[in-house]
Symmetry: C2
Subunit: 377 residues, 2 copies
DNA sequence: GTGAAAGCGCTAACAG
DNA sequence: CTGTTAGCGCTTTCAC
């Protein structure tokens, strides 16, 4: 009675032939081993690709597994190997075209590398960001890609807890040791300002600046810095703060365009800001580009559908996601010391920006503008 | 020597105090237990919320855990409880606005229910769909939400393997036992046809029909069925097949609008089809809605940015995702016998559809139309 | 080549 | 209320 029975008197209710009406328990490695008449180690070798297994044995195992509908459990494997094979992705909003495209890139890369992706959206809330991070660590993901929204302090702690961390789209100045994949936003904005200046615009507004107290972002800095080289003088009143949310953006755009009828071009720092500019211009019966030129950062799908189609700075969102994932999974060996990866942007010129043919470079052709005239160029 | 040593002679190399210079191994439940001077079960109770723990003990455990930076491993927990706390989401394309919105809904619901979401995109490829499904099962997700693209046969097998499965956006006729969350596309299309008919249109084209051999979808059927009640007669030549991809959609739209200059309205079965219709109309110098009216299914962001803004059937994508997730996680008790959940659509009327004021209800006002005239109505 | 056995980190009985 | 113990499904030495 102290025998450990290698076959008779199974402890649980389900025995070889009598699985009558039982809840279909998922087959385990043991079931397969038994069915194939081999040890569980052999089954493991067959499925994990480790070690050598005789061809005949492999066949038997595979057959048995197929028969039982066996799927190795990532839970068991993960527990043993301390790697889940998954990566976490934290974006501000999966609904945002840029984030969506970036996500697609991550998925594409993860797929080729054989990993799965746990996605979540933080909606710009640091607390939520931390919470998601926490869950991801619990899941024991092999690495995390984040488009950080929250404050630096939150991520500082995270950087230590995280298995591996890569920032995308935005890097945190205080955390230079965290690898990052960025778009050359500064270059894009600079190109846009130069383009606009070349068209004759002198009063270019920037929609989407940081709040008065906060530190300005890369794009805003680039906007400011591009003025002197382009022969423009910066008007602080034209650098208008706006969060990248529909309501805030609309309010800011409306305020700007109503307050200053002398701006001839608006550079929107993001697609939501661009959307707002277009909507407000339409509301105010401003013709684009005859009355105002509009351009924006982020070349989303609607830019081409718009009338006129919008000039925009295209950022390689998908590539960014792909590269970030690659950095995380592929290059886990070497610590990338070479600073952030900077991917080039491209200025896509469409019809929303016009040359200033008017004799009043400082004002819009429409009614209320100031009366002082100048000659062409 | 047959004693199973409850404390002495640790088999592995790392013993209580000798962790000198070791790679920072993540703290486990044992570490916390030791640090807090309690048993591992107590630590487990504290973190899993199961059972009762004295307030003082809980504090000690929490303090020790915080000190060690302990995060319970979902791997260990999952292995033990046979539930990973995650759900899988399979969409055709995360980049598609509808899918993205649906995803957001799933994330929102998963969040409130405390689960994480593994997302992947199948890109309309049944093989890839099956592959993703496989990985998800390996991950032992608690359930799967899918916007099925592939053929029924693939999903038939899946339906058995899956822990729990819910379809979103599209149900498979051959698998009525799988719960589904759908939008009332038929109602939306019907409303659109009625609206167009009310405006005086007689020749309405449907862009996005199934390929000649394939079985028509819900929308196409609704389009056909709506004709008689609205006093229209269906012209088979106006039901034009097109896959929901940019190139295919554009080709189909161009073919239609060039071949038939007597269509006065185009009903696009999806936003990509709508986009194509708008682009082709612009290319052909057709004014909207003066020359052609355009409307589509799916009220995406650009519909409002378009000029004129596009009339569209809005589908509650986010709600659909939320409900699907709810169905999966919340209502796991009862088998929903009540057929698929049907969420209402809404016709959003904008400026892209005009009344036929012309004396030729059968033709566009522009040049090449046939000369036979009719009276109004 | 292959099998036996020892855990990975955790929860769920079951004793105290 | 708390500790001990037995696995969950898997990989991995280590013998054979």
């Amino acid at each position: 009675m102290m025998e450990t029975f290698p076959g008779k008197r199974r402890p649980t209710g389900l025995d070889a032939g009598g699985r009558i009406g039982m809840a279909e328990r998922a087959a385990t490695i043991k079931d397969v081993a038994a069915a194939a008449g081999v040890g569980i180690a052999t089954v493991s070798r067959v499925f994990s690709g480790t070690g050598a297994v005789a061809a005949g044995t492999r066949e038997r195992v595979l057959a048995a597994a197929a028969d039982l509908g066996y799927r190795p459990s990532a839970l068991g494997r993960g527990l043993r190997t301390a790697r889940s094979g998954g990566i976490g992705l934290i974006v501000p909003d999966v609904t945002d075209p840029f984030c969506a495209e970036l996500t697609a890139g991550v998925l594409a890369c993860a797929r080729t590398l054989g990993g799965h992706v746990v996605v979540d959206a933080a909606h710009g809330d640091p607390a939520r960001e931390a919470e998601i991070l926490d869950r991801l660590v619990e899941q024991r993901v092999d690495g995390i890609i984040a488009v950080p929204a929250g404050d630096e302090s939150g991520w500082r702690g995270a950087a230590r807890v995280c298995p591996r961390l890569v920032f995308a789209d935005r890097a945190l100045p205080g955390l230079p040791e965290v690898p990052a994949v960025l778009a050359d936003d500064a270059g894009g904005v600079r190109a846009l300002v130069e383009y606009l200046a070349g068209l004759g615009h002198r009063r270019i507004a920037y929609l989407g600046a940081a709040a008065p107290g906060a530190t300005p972002g890369v794009r805003e800095r680039a906007f400011r810095d591009a003025h002197a080289p382009a022969g423009l003088v910066l008007d602080e009143d034209l650098v208008v703060p706006a969060r990248p949310a529909r309501d805030a953006a609309y309010a800011a755009a409306a305020g700007l365009l109503q307050r200053r009828d002398d701006v001839t071009a608006v550079l929107a720092a993001g697609h939501l800001l661009g959307e707002a500019a277009v909507l407000v211009a339409r509301e105010l019966d401003l013709r684009v580009p005859a009355d105002v030129s509009i351009a924006m950062v982020d070349d989303v799908a609607w830019a081409e559908l718009c009338d006129p189609p919008l000039t925009a700075v295209a950022r390689p969102a998908r590539d960014m996601g792909y590269r970030a994932c690659e950095l995380l999974l592929r290059d886990r060996a070497r610590r990338g010391p070479a600073g952030p990866v900077l991917l080039p942007t491209e200025l896509v010129v469409r019809g929303s920006c016009g040359a200033l043919r008017s004799a009043r470079p400082g004002g819009r052709p429409s009614g209320r503008s100031r009366p002082h005239a100048e000659t062409i160029r």
